[in-house]
Symmetry: D2
């Protein structure tokens, strides 16, 4: 298996999906060792650093894009996350004026005052694999299990568009779901030649919904295997883990993000099990798991999950998830 | 512990929260053995029965209301579900014209045609504790684990209102969350003297979101313990299990249901741990679990869950959940 | 024409649609002279009175309900507003904490602080027929044309429900549209025997949307003629003026209120002109006028208007609007 | 006054805001005579042409972009529409599968079937200045007054983005408001050097909301004067006519589009009249006119209008609207 290592310099970072020349070309089947900057661009290092210093600057830097040889519109890009390891000993989170789920925002404005700014620094204990929350208004702390994930993974959009890395949509992007963790295989519909995928926005931990708008944001070491399936590009990003298949819809209002993932899953169940639309709708009704991803970004994202263990064994995308899991194992223990 | 058994006759069933005289008065601390009719009023018994025969009739019959002595506006009604046992050997689900999450509805109309009607009957295997899905458009079946729950539990609303049993809102009602299962303690703010709570809408199993609008609907044997805490009535229904505390918001659009539960949980975390609002917001951001409840009813419902095991031990509502769990155990094995 | 005068005492006022005994029974065709209290119950008389003193009290008092003899579910109640005359020399408006369109609210909460409270008193100049806005944070005033309207007109709901007078829905209620002015005929579907309609919430003037949540609220003298058409009850409240036919949808989110009125108007145009659904949809697309009603109440309300002068002459509800306009003229000049 | 004529060839048409080289550079103060293709690219010429033939092709071609010399981020681009004259003797409208306001769409999907496709051709009578609607499912026709407008006018977006011409947003674009008619002055915040504005999507007539998704679409002759104000770029597109000032918000759900325009108007009223935020909010509440623009595009658009005649005379953007109206008159009678 070909292996590529890419650590972006500051001026190689990307802030869009589409509209940027690829930093590298690679063949399907390549394993990649990458580093991602955090969403604040590293600007928050102590609790006295305020997130508003980032306003007016580009946010959510991405590593990439990568040109995948042979990828054409309509194909399926496959990204298997082998490993995500925090690249710093701390992550940062913050309230940002008029950003987040429980405040008015430019897309949902009121004439109220913004919430106060506050920054939290979470020490990452790599031995215990925890991140430490420390309250600022009182004496309280809690060590929370780290659960590294990538908030943002996606490909270039269609229709000549260029979108900021803050947006989640049909091309992936800033979906902010904890399901994007090591062991997960992601499937994206390819919209342009070479797919031009990129990734970033490491979270050492995030709750479902990402209420205040920022997770425990941190630089991340990423190992991933990238592959290509000709044709079959899904309408919305799909994920597969050892236990679940998932579809991630992104839209506003929130029910529309849910509907998108549900309709996609109905189509998927139909094709996997030969169910007609009504039967797949009925079956999904009784087995759907629906954790929120984010209710804070430009679009909201909702995951529709189906537990594979409830259903007869089916071959998903030619069994590529199992194959990649096995290829990942062959990489041996990973250190950065 | 006082114990009451109540099996409603057809004309004792209720179809509203508020506006109905109590069927019984009971003292706080009473254990109740109840039976609930299914949401279709038992009308769907075979796949040739269509749900549209129910239109124009009352739907979602409730068992109750029960007058809890001493309950006054502002108090907290506590309902601990001890046991939910399917009362039939089958449950039913159906597509209903212009009802459900992936169709236009009277509250979100289009001028498209309705989906076709179809009814599914799920055999309940009490030994294996499964319900069997059988496709109608192809050969496919799957035995799914039963997960009995109550779709509808609530109290009379405030402001003189009477609401149908189809509505979920701040008073509970038709929230349709799988979290309302045996072992769960529910807390409701009391709005009228006696609280006037009722329950029904048994589901032998339901996915998160209840996509097509109907779960595996079935009559249910219910054992519950009812208690009262003076004062402290929460703004939204709260739930507690052995592992989680939860708040259930209901509204439209879906993000508003989410916001309601999140804001309530921030207040709850604040009062449990002495956190100020921003610290509680931040902490919730990193630990929130957010499974959807329903995206099909008159209001949509979203659950905000916090895993108690992530946080220091706290005394929730005076420890009444543990106490009720222990009282439930003292009831011994339950048969109906 | 039979004529009834009814001036409610404070304890005769109603705060719900449904759930209240009628204050009067009347025959179809009756002319009524009524008085309505303002939405604050008269509590705001000077700028130092704050609206929050009303919280916890009943708001939006209604005059009624009136039992219309012969009205049965499925019928069409017809209410023609003959005259609306301000009953005081001043109206009041106010910001109320967590109420209004440009603030978070209990149905769309955030954890931001509420807006400051402020009360404005508008002098009503009956000679000039203006209401005077006076700024409080600076020197500025403007005399605005008075445009008296009723924020709330409706009938008892179906399905045994009782709803507060703050809610607009399919039964009318708190729609808050400036179209509800003298000269307008309103059509409501009857849900219960006697229809049980009531009205109130006079506004001396209101912009479309009622942004801050309160118009220029004032007590009103109301003259109306009430009639009944057997059958034909519309799904949403319909209005007719000399120039327009209108349908008022109420729902959340706002697009759903729009859809409701649009779909109802498509059905209406279809029945008036023999258009099939697609032709009516197309025609409406090019002629629809859509002023917002309110974006602040429990449901939002949107008016779909069609200018009758663009289309061939049609007989609407048997020509009852013209007939009532003529009956109104026969009442001669009105003084209270 | 410098005058430029530009009639794009087919391959000069643009389909995005941003991402395209300018077709022309011009100085502030230039008058332009332009031609715009219709949104279907001229593909619908008779009722047997179906809009679905356009799917997969670029839609909504724009004339431009034009580079305005001296325009820098933060400036205000001023576009005064002098004249809009239909460039064909017919316009076309159509239902498109899964597109429009009263059907499910990819952004708000259901599993229902699409509406049938149908195309309507409206003859444009230049003498009577009417467009003729002809029903297809029955005998019915109506001559409707033509009301030429541009559905799409905008500038390049910020943050390196490129958006399709189907999207309305803070940079203008596909707002689809009938207010964009001859005599209107539009103000856009400049996001990139040269502003890069373009326009197109002529409608010979459109109702508010554009229910079915397509107006009476037709090629248009456009005369406009373009100017630049240094600084002062508004957050949302603003319009000014002889009688009104307006702000156009675009977002989903629809209430958010409304909020955006309202908040912008509060700021505008504040700066014009020295009102503090609460006074401006109150005043707007009583004088706002709110016609919908579109409820069918990728974002929905809502216009907040204020009648200038209700308020003391104020100088808006230095009085440039009056000045441009006068410059427009100096162009004399326009023929194409």
């Amino acid at each position: 298996m070909e292996t590529i290592t890419f650590i972006p310099t500051a001026d190689q970072l990307g802030y869009t999906f589409g509209g940027k020349d690829p930093v590298l070309r690679l063949k399907p089947g390549t394993a990649m060792t990458l580093w991602t900057q955090d969403a604040f661009g590293g600007a928050l290092r102590r609790t006295t650093d305020k997130a508003s210093v980032c306003l007016g600057h580009d946010l959510n830097p991405q590593t990439g894009p990568f040109y995948v040889e042979g990828a054409e519109p309509g194909d399926t890009l496959v990204v298997h996350l082998v490993d995500l390891t925090p690249a710093r000993t701390w992550g940062a989170s913050a309230t940002i004026p008029f950003f987040g789920g429980l405040t008015s925002t430019p897309l949902d404005p009121t004439i109220q005052e913004p919430l106060p700014e506050r920054t939290w620094i979470y020490e990452y204990d790599s031995a215990a694999h925890t991140v430490a929350f420390t309250a600022q208004g009182s004496e309280f702390s809690a060590a929370l299990p780290a659960n590294p994930m990538l908030g943002t993974v996606g490909v270039a959009p269609a229709q000549r568009e260029v979108r900021t890395s803050l947006v989640p949509d049909y091309f992936g992007g800033n979906m902010d779901t904890p399901e994007m963790r090591a062991g997960t295989t992601a499937y994206f519909g390819v919209n342009v030649e070479g797919a031009l995928f990129s990734l970033g926005d490491g979270h050492y931990r995030q709750g479902e919904g990402e209420s205040c708008g920022t997770a425990v944001e941190g630089a991340m070491h990423v190992t991933a295997i990238v592959d290509l399936i000709k044709g079959g590009g899904p309408q919305w990003p799909r994920l597969e883990s050892n236990t679940h298949i998932m579809s991630v819809g992104s839209a506003r209002p929130l029910e529309n993000a849910w509907k998108a993932g549900q309709v996609d899953m109905i189509e998927w169940l139909g094709s996997l099990y030969g169910l007609d639309r009504l039967d797949a709708y009925q079956l999904l009704t009784q087995i759907s798991e629906v954790p929120l991803a984010n209710v804070v970004d430009t679009n909201f994202s909702v995951v529709t999950k189906v537990d594979k263990r409830l259903l007869p064994k089916a071959t998903v995308y030619g069994g590529i998830h199992a194959e990649m899991t096995s290829r990942a194992a062959s990489l041996g223990s990973i250190s950065y």
